[in-house]
């Protein structure tokens, strides 16, 4: 793994010679646009993505350039159009299927878990499903129990899928381009609160390989692992704690499958403390899996129990104050860091 790939995007930008700041949604749109120009087998399927340009404007204008055969509005029939995507992928196309809210991906789980994910194994790689499933999750804006979930653990547990959850515009673009070129079925989870966030993205083409974590902030006292919308929150917490002299390393795995376990374990061996932050409900989440792995690989290095800051084990409430109470906030992360450092054995 190159050192550059693991540095802060701002550092990477400085070397590109062409700084500019764009939104997460624009970065995703650029990735789709570039890949569709590059490869005629790439096409898009989803609800409201063509004429409307997508609910979050990620596919805006693509219909005009690529026409209705490559940017297709579907009925509200998730299992059907995901199945169409799996079939198209099997026959040589590279579909990018959008599920409007990850909550609705429960309607396609059979297509993903029992079909797309298994076909490479079942056919000894005679078949592959080079499909990207774009979707967005997470709470914010009071969208209640069925439009706010963080369901990455479900896809993470399914053997045969790759899984990306970028937190910055830079990572979103580079990972989307890699996802489209991947021969694995990729689940690409965006976050509704990140679409309008800005970050530096170079004009020049670049790709980010799957399986490489990014150290978003180097530090020595404690490792914070966070992805998607928990990353900006964790970085803010780290900045607050820096003011009192607590030096935190923030690691963003960027892709959960494959997971860059080495970067995480190396960081924990250095700092001897780990806090993992996830928006999803605690029980059965990805953080538990990472914790159990680190525990096995770095047992003798850990100076304190691993802290997991996670969503509460409830559906997401509609009420904004309750919604906030269910999702890790900056203050929860700071408290977990303090607990971990205080419990040092």
């Amino acid at each position: 793994m190159s050192e550059t790939a693991r540095e802060h995007p701002a550092v990477q930008k400085a070397s590109s010679g062409n700084p500019r700041s764009i939104m997460y949604r624009e970065a995703l749109r650029e990735a789709l646009l570039e890949e569709m120009r590059r490869d005629a087998s790439v096409f898009l399927l989803g609800e409201g993505i063509a004429r409307r340009g997508g609910s979050y404007k990620v596919t805006e204008g693509l219909l005009n350039e690529f026409g209705p055969k490559r940017v297709i509005d579907t009925p509200l029939a998730e299992a059907t159009f995901t199945g169409a995507g799996v079939g198209a992928a099997l026959t040589g196309m590279r579909p990018v299927v959008e599920i409007l809210f990850i909550d609705f991906s429960m309607l396609i789980l059979d297509q993903i878990a029992n079909q797309a994910a298994k076909l490479q194994f079942m056919t000894n790689k005679q078949c592959s499903v080079p499909m990207v499933l774009r979707t967005q999750g997470g709470a914010g804006n009071g969208l209640a129990a069925q439009h706010s979930q963080s369901l990455e653990a479900i896809f993470y547990h399914i053997p045969g899928l790759h899984l990306a959850m970028p937190a910055t515009p830079y990572d979103a673009k580079g990972l989307m381009k890699s996802a489209i070129r991947s021969d694995f079925p990729v689940v690409f989870i965006e976050h509704k609160l990140l679409y309008m966030t800005e970050g530096e993205v170079p004009e020049e083409e670049y790709l980010i390989p799957f399986g490489e974590a990014s150290i978003k902030r180097p530090g020595n006292d404690l490792t914070l692992v966070a992805w998607s919308n928990m990353l900006p929150r964790s970085l803010k917490a780290a900045e607050s704690l820096a003011e009192e002299g607590i030096d935190i390393e923030v690691v963003d795995p960027r892709t959960l499958v494959p997971l860059d376990k080495k970067t995480i374990v190396d960081s924990v061996r250095k700092t001897q403390h780990l806090v993992i932050v996830q928006e999803a409900v605690r029980r059965g989440g990805v953080a538990s899996d990472i914790a159990s792995y680190v525990h096995e690989e770095a047992f003798d290095y850990l100076d304190a129990p691993i802290e997991i800051v996670a969503g509460l084990n409830t559906p997401i409430p509609y009420n904004l104050s309750l919604e906030k109470a269910c999702i890790p906030q900056e203050v929860d992360i700071i408290e977990a860091v303090r607990r971990a450092l205080a419990r040092t054995v």
């Binding site: 045969g160 691993i306 409830t314």
Partner: protein
């Protein structure tokens, strides 16, 4: 007490509850006239008629959706999903509707129904008839998940599940359906949800298992005691959600070591949650990292079934690795 296998115990539990409570109805693919592919519902249609025991089309989302509607209107449905692998077509109904109903309605509505479903490998069922999907279910707030390992618990836990006010997924270890035999209490008999059972006492190390892995774990514990000189304590979790964290921590704090056994793929399996929680709550009692013996991160294989499933050899290796850490 009569001796039964798990199939007979499930059948007995259903019959007992249907006689006691006319709100209990049973439906699913082939459960009526045919009596179920594994014969768990045999004879129920004859006794209770085709309004209370009926066949459905192969439409899992419809089966669970119907159970949601029935349960909200006063019935106590016990739908069957013929194999746990086919729970995926119904998962939207489970995750987004049934499990959230109590929360979304501020407690005005609930979904008291039990999805019975045979799970797991060991019958050469290949990748579509061998999966263990419990990890998806325990990650879903609002659901209960129950996995019995023997006939007596199968009856007692199923009766408790039917009487519970919230949706329960009742996962039956199909490999043990006829293999596990034991005495079962007659008539009304229940086992409380959320309580683990200590099935072997030991002082060196704790083995946590559930469902079809319990006899395998016990087998490994006996061999480890005889051959490796390791005295294992074996806990049968019985309920995965809510799971008996008190019993788990009590045992691990006593032995200082833990090995978790499950059939599902390792990554993000229920074992990861157990390991993370044990490490968090009992780090200072641990002499070695919590180890997991699980299925692999691949689809369930047809040919390599016996390699994929945790066996006595792999469990004993984990026990030795933990002791020698």
């Amino acid at each position: 007490m009569p001796v039964m296998n798990i199939i007979q115990a499930v059948n007995d539990a259903l019959r007992t509850e249907m006689r006691r409570d006319e709100r209990v109805v049973v439906f699913g693919e082939d459960v009526g006239k045919f009596g179920g592919v594994f014969r768990a519902t045999q004879g129920l249609q004859e006794e209770f008629g085709s309004e209370r025991v009926f066949d459905t089309p192969l439409a899992e989302a419809g089966i669970v959706g119907m159970a949601i509607g029935m349960s909200q209107n006063g019935l106590r449905p016990v739908p069957e999903i013929q194999f746990a692998d086919f729970i995926y077509p119904a998962i939207d109904q489970i995750v987004n509707e049934a499990s959230k109903m109590r929360y979304r309605s501020g407690g005005q509505l609930s979904c008291p129904f039990v999805i019975r479903t045979p799970y797991g490998g060991g019958i050469r069922g290949g990748h579509y008839h061998s999966q263990s999907p419990e990890a998806y279910l325990i990650h879903t707030p609002g659901l209960k998940v129950v996995v019995p390992s023997n006939p007596s618990d199968a009856k007692g836990l199923l009766i408790s599940s039917i009487r519970d006010e919230d949706p329960v997924v009742f996962m039956e270890p199909k490999r043990l359906y006829r293999a596990a035999r034991g005495e079962v209490a007659e008539g009304d008999y229940s086992v409380e949800l959320g309580k683990a059972a200590l099935v072997r006492e030991g002082g060196d190390i704790t083995i946590l298992a559930y469902g079809a892995m319990v006899p395998t774990a016990l087998d490994a514990a006996e061999k480890a005691a005889a051959v490796d000189g390791i005295d294992s304590e074996v806990l049968d979790l019985r309920t995965l959600m809510p799971y008996d964290i008190t019993a788990v921590l009590e045992s691990v704090e006593k032995t200082g070591r833990a090995v978790i056994v499950h059939e599902a793929p390792r990554t993000c399996g229920f074992g990861a949650e157990l390991a993370a929680t044990i490490s968090e709550k009992a780090l200072l009692s641990l002499h070695s990292p919590v180890l997991r013996v699980t299925g692999f991160d691949t689809p369930f294989p047809y040919t390599f079934e016996s390699e994929y499933l945790p066996n006595e050899r792999r469990i004993r290796k984990a026990l030795r690795d933990s002791m020698n850490f």
